[in-house]
Amino acid sequence: MAIIVNLDVMMAKRKMSLNELSEKVGLTLSNLSILKTGKAKAIRFSTLESICDVLNCQPGDILEYTNDE
């Protein structure tokens, strides 16, 4: 997919585990895992807001666009 999720990079930068992020954001581990592995089809603004708030970053730090062609 053209949109790449760099959640693991940001988590590594903030030295935060998936469990900790899941607790702070209020998302289930399975949903966070779907997001992290790039299987997600869509992300709600509220989820993105919570993640950015917890990781103290911008949406652009988590999502990246690359041209597949």
Partner: protein
């Protein structure tokens, strides 16, 4: 799901099994008829439905094989249609029915129903045409009398299957929205 619905579903499953067994017997009987009419025509009078097309075989082999291929394909398709229905009913989880397996099976059911309808329709036209050439095909009408019903049913199931498939796609997308 309520107990009443569960009871109705199990009842329908039993009915589907009975119809499937009946259609398998019919298809088997017709295949045996076909083989006997080729190799031992005098014995056909003792067989299933007594379809005696030996006169047609003598006059025109193409007409004989054409009519028999229509009869056999329609009866085999009907049996296979009910095989898919039974497989769907056995494997379907009624608590979570909206998945790709169910939508694919409903789509398959619509394809088979439509093909049965179209086969029956063409077979009826061919049989009518053969009647003009002096062949007696009255006894075969039972095999394609319900062609329009099958076409209509196939079209309706196809529409339902398409809507169901779209619903499953939307649900999958919703499941993958975080």
């Amino acid at each position: 799901m309520s107990n009443r619905n569960n009871f109705v579903f199990k009842g329908l499953l039993i009915v589907a099994w009975v119809i499937f067994v009946g259609l398998c017997i019919e298809a088997g009987g017709l295949i045996v008829n076909f083989i006997f009419s080729l190799f031992k025509p005098e014995f056909v009078q003792n067989l299933y439905q007594k379809i005696d097309l030996t006169e047609m075989y003598k006059d025109n082999k193409w007409a004989f094989f054409g009519i028999y291929s229509f009869i056999l394909s329609i009866s085999i398709l009907k049996a296979f249609l009910f095989y898919i229905v039974i497989r769907l009913m056995h494997k379907m989880d009624l608590t979570k029915p909206f998945n790709t397996f169910v939508s694919n099976h409903i789509l398959q059911i619509s394809y088979y129903t439509l093909s049965i309808g179209l086969f029956s329709f063409f077979a009826r036209k061919v049989a009518k045409n053969l009647m003009h050439h002096g062949f007696v095909t009255d006894s075969l009408n039972q095999f394609w009398v319900d062609s329009q019903a099958f076409i209509l049913m196939g079209a309706v199931i196809y529409i339902i299957a398409t809507i169901f498939k779209k619903g499953v796609d939307i649900q999958n997308e919703n499941d993958l929205t975080v």
